[in-house]
C-alpha cells in the first residue's frame, strides 16, 4: 500500500490581504482579556471565540494572526484550536443545526428530528447544503436533558422538539 502523504511542511496557507484579526478586535482583546490572565496564551480561547463568532469559522491565516498577536507559535495555536469541537477550522454553512444525540435525547426520539432535517435540507449529518446556508451536525449532550429532544440552531436552544417545530426553526433561521 502506498503511503498517502500530506505536504504540510511546504503547504502554503491561503492568504488574503485584509487581516481577519482586525485592529478593533485586537484592541478589545488587549483591554478586556489580556489583563485577566497571567500569560498571553490564556487569552487564546477568547480570541478564537471572537474569530469563530465573527467569521463562522477560523481560517489558517486567522490562526497565524492570532499566534502573531499573542506572541505564540502557530503550532501552539493550532494545537489548541484543533482540540476543541466548537472551533471550525473548515468553512461551514451560514447556519448550523446541531441535534443532540446523547442518552436522554436518543431515547426520546432524536432520530425523528435529525430525519426531518435530513429530508428538509437534502443533506446527511455532517454535510452542508449546496447554497452554503445550512450545516447539519449531531452533537453529544447539550445539557438540557429535561427538554429532550433538543437541538441548537446557531446559538439558540430549542427544547421539547417535534419534527414540525425543527422545521419551523429552520425556516426562521433561513429568513434571517
Amino acid at each position: 500500500m502506498a503511503w498517502i502523504t500530506k505536504p504540510s511542511g511546504t503547504m502554503a496557507v491561503e492568504q488574503r490581504s485584509e487581516p481577519y484579526l482586525t485592529e478593533d478586535m485586537k484592541n478589545s482583546i488587549r483591554e478586556t482579556y489580556l489583563p485577566r490572565y497571567e500569560t498571553s496564551k490564556g487569552a487564546l480561547l477568547p480570541t478564537l471565540h471572537k474569530l469563530q463568532h465573527t467569521y463562522g469559522w477560523i481560517p489558517r491565516q486567522a490562526l497565524m494572526e492570532a499566534a502573531d498577536f499573542l506572541d505564540l507559535k502557530p503550532a501552539d495555536v493550532i494545537d489548541t484550536a484543533s482540540f476543541y469541537e466548537e472551533f471550525w477550522l473548515k468553512p461551514k454553512g451560514e447556519h448550523v443545526i446541531a441535534v443532540c444525540r446523547s442518552i436522554a435525547c436518543e431515547f426520546c426520539d432524536h432520530k425523528a428530528i435529525t430525519d426531518r432535517c435530513r429530508e428538509k435540507l437534502g443533506i446527511e449529518v455532517g454535510e452542508t447544503t449546496d447554497d452554503g446556508k445550512f450545516t447539519l451536525v449531531e452533537l453529544e449532550c447539550l445539557g438540557a436533558c429535561g427538554g429532550a429532544p433538543v437541538a441548537l440552531v446557531d446559538e439558540k436552544l430549542h427544547e421539547n422538539l417535534s419534527p414540525d417545530e425543527i422545521d419551523r426553526a429552520i425556516d426562521e433561521a433561513r429568513s434571517h
Partner: protein, 466 residues
C-alpha cells in the same frame, strides 16, 4: 402512597427560581441584582465579611457540605489544602475556578442556577474567595451554554457596578474581619465543546489556553494549579450553597438531607436533581439528599410516561452506571455507590428508562459518548473506548458472538478499574457505565449474541485417557 417526609424547610437554592412543588416554573425569570438584594441577597456575604476566615472555613467544614460536581468531596476539607497565608503577608495570586462545564449526559442542574439566579452563584464565589484568600475567580462555562454565559456576563456587570467585585474591595470596600478590604475579580471563561474540560486539571489547562488534557496529580491544584498558583476548583451548586450556610449556620444545613446508613460520611443538605427520560414531567427539582428515586419520579415527576413500568435509571450522569429494575427504591444520597453497585451519586441527575427501552442501545450510546470525548492522552482510554463502542454496536446489530460479551467486560475492567492505567477518571466512568449495564441486564445482551463455540465433552492430549 409512600411514607416520605422531606426535611427541607422550603426551597433553598431555588428560593428565587419558581420550582415544583412550591411554585410554577412558568413564572421563572432572570433575578436581577436589585431583586436579589431586595429578597435578602448578599446578606450571607455581609455576614461572612464580619467573620474571621478560619471561622468561615470551620462553618463550612461543620456543615459537611460535599461537592455537588460528582465526586462528593467535602468542600471545607478541600479548602484546607491551600497553603496557609500568614496575616499581613502577601501570598501572591491565588485563584478560584468555578466548574460550570456541565457536560455529562443526563446532567442539567447548574444550568438552572445560571439561567435564573446568577447572583446566588456570584455571592457564593465572593464568600469562597474571601474565606480562602483568593483574589480572582474564573467561571469556566461550557461553550454550548451561550445564553447562560450572557446572563452571567450581565450579572457580573451588575455586580461590578454595585461594587460587589472590583478594586475597591468586596461590597463597596466593606472593612473585613481580617483587617482592611479584600478585592476580588470575577470573569467568565467560555469553553469550546470538550467534555474532558470538566475534569478539574483539564479545566485549568483549558483556562491557560491549552488543549484540555488532564494533568498528573500530585501536585494538586490547591498547591499548584492555574498558572502554577494555588487554586480551588468548586462546582456551581456547591458555591451556591455557601450563602445560606453562612447565614443560617451549619446546624441548620445538617438538619436537611440524611445521615449515612452504612457508617460513611453523611449526605447533608438539599440537592438539585434533574430528572430526564421517560417520565411525565422531567425537569430540575430541589430535594433532600436521600429521597428515594421512586418518590422523586412518582411525586415530583408525576410518574412514568404513558403509565409504563420502570426498567432502570442512570444514577446521576452516564459515568455512574445504572440502577436495575429492582433498585427503584434507591435513596439518592452519597451512599448509593456502595449500596447499589454503581460508581456513586454523581450529579444526582437520573435518566429514567421505561420497560421497552433497549438496554443494549443504552450501552452503545454511552460507549459512543466516551469514545467521542476521550481526550486521547492515555492509550487504554483512547483505544479501549473505541473498541467498546465497536463491540457494543456489533452486539446491538445481532452480529456478535458470546465471547464478545466477555471481551466487553474485560476491556471495560482493564481500562477503568485497574488503578494507574489512565490519568483521569474518564475511563473509569466508561467502565462503570458499560459494566453495570452488561451485568444488570445480562440476559438482554445474551439474547443478542450467537454462541461462539460448540461445547466439547471429549478431552484430548495429555489429560486424555488412553
Amino acid at each position: 402512597m409512600t411514607a416520605y417526609t422531606p426535611k427541607m424547610p422550603g426551597p433553598v437554592l431555588t428560593a428565587r427560581i419558581p420550582t415544583y412543588p412550591w411554585a410554577d416554573p412558568k413564572d421563572r425569570h432572570i433575578v436581577s441584582y436589585d431583586e436579589y438584594t431586595r429578597t435578602g441577597g448578599y446578606e450571607g456575604l455581609r455576614k461572612a465579611l464580619g467573620m474571621s476566615r478560619d471561622d468561615i472555613i470551620e462553618e463550612v467544614k461543620g456543615s459537611q457540605l460535599r461537592g455537588r460536581g460528582g465526586a462528593g468531596f467535602p468542600c471545607g476539607l478541600k479548602w484546607t489544602f491551600l497553603p496557609k497565608v500568614e496575616p499581613g503577608t502577601d501570598p501572591g495570586p491565588r485563584y478560584l475556578a468555578i466548574n460550570a462545564d456541565e457536560s455529562e449526559p443526563g446532567t442539567f442542574k447548574d444550568r438552572l442556577l445560571m439561567d435564573f439566579d446568577p447572583h446566588l452563584l456570584l455571592e457564593g464565589i465572593a464568600i469562597a474567595c474571601y474565606a480562602c484568600h483568593l483574589q480572582r475567580a474564573f467561571i469556566y462555562i461550557r461553550g454550548e451554554y451561550h445564553h447562560q454565559a450572557m446572563v452571567l456576563e450581565q450579572a457580573i456587570k451588575e455586580a461590578y457596578e454595585a461594587k460587589v467585585f472590583g478594586p475597591q474591595g468586596l461590597l463597596d470596600g466593606t472593612e473585613t474581619n481580617a483587617g482592611g478590604t479584600f478585592a476580588v475579580e470575577c470573569h467568565v471563561h467560555r469553553g469550546a465543546g470538550a467534555y474532558i474540560c470538566g475534569e478539574e486539571t483539564a479545566l485549568l489547562e483549558s483556562l491557560e489556553g491549552k488543549r484540555g488534557w488532564p494533568r498528573v496529580k500530585p501536585p494538586f491544584p490547591a498547591v499548584k494549579g492555574l498558572f502554577g498558583r494555588p487554586t480551588i476548583i468548586n462546582n456551581v451548586e456547591t458555591l451556591a450553597h455557601l450563602p445560606s450556610i453562612i447565614e443560617n449556620g451549619h446546624q441548620w444545613f445538617c438538619g436537611q438531607g440524611t445521615e449515612s446508613s452504612i457508617g460513611g460520611p453523611p449526605s447533608f443538605g438539599s440537592k438539585l436533581m434533574g430528572v430526564s427520560g421517560h417520565v411525565n414531567r422531567p425537569g430540575v427539582y430541589e430535594c433532600d439528599l436521600g429521597i428515594p428515586l421512586k418518590v422523586l419520579v412518582e411525586d415530583h415527576c408525576q410518574g412514568m410516561r404513558n403509565g409504563k413500568k420502570f426498567k432502570g435509571a442512570i444514577a446521576g450522569g452516564v459515568s455512574t452506571g445504572v440502577l436495575g429494575p429492582d433498585e427503584f427504591d434507591a435513596p439518592m444520597d452519597f451512599d448509593i455507590g456502595r449500596k447499589y453497585n454503581v460508581l456513586g451519586l454523581g450529579t444526582a441527575c437520573p435518566t429514567i428508562f421505561e420497560e421497552d427501552t433497549d438496554m443494549v442501545g443504552v450501552a452503545r450510546n454511552i460507549a459512543r459518548f466516551f469514545k467521542h470525548e476521550s481526550c486521547g492522552q492515555c492509550t487504554p482510554c483512547r483505544e479501549g473506548s473505541g473498541w467498546l463502542f465497536q463491540l457494543l454496536s456489533r452486539i446491538e446489530k445481532g452480529d456478535a458472538r458470546t465471547k464478545d460479551l466477555d471481551l466487553v467486560l474485560e476491556i471495560a475492567t482493564s481500562m477503568g478499574a485497574m488503578p494507574g492505567t489512565t490519568i483521569c477518571g474518564l475511563a473509569d466512568g466508561n467502565n462503570w457505565a458499560v459494566r453495570t449495564i452488561v451485568n444488570k441486564y445480562r440476559e438482554e445482551f445474551e439474547a443478542r449474541v450467537r454462541p461462539s463455540f460448540v461445547p466439547v465433552t471429549m478431552s484430548v492430549g495429555a489429560a486424555a485417557n488412553g
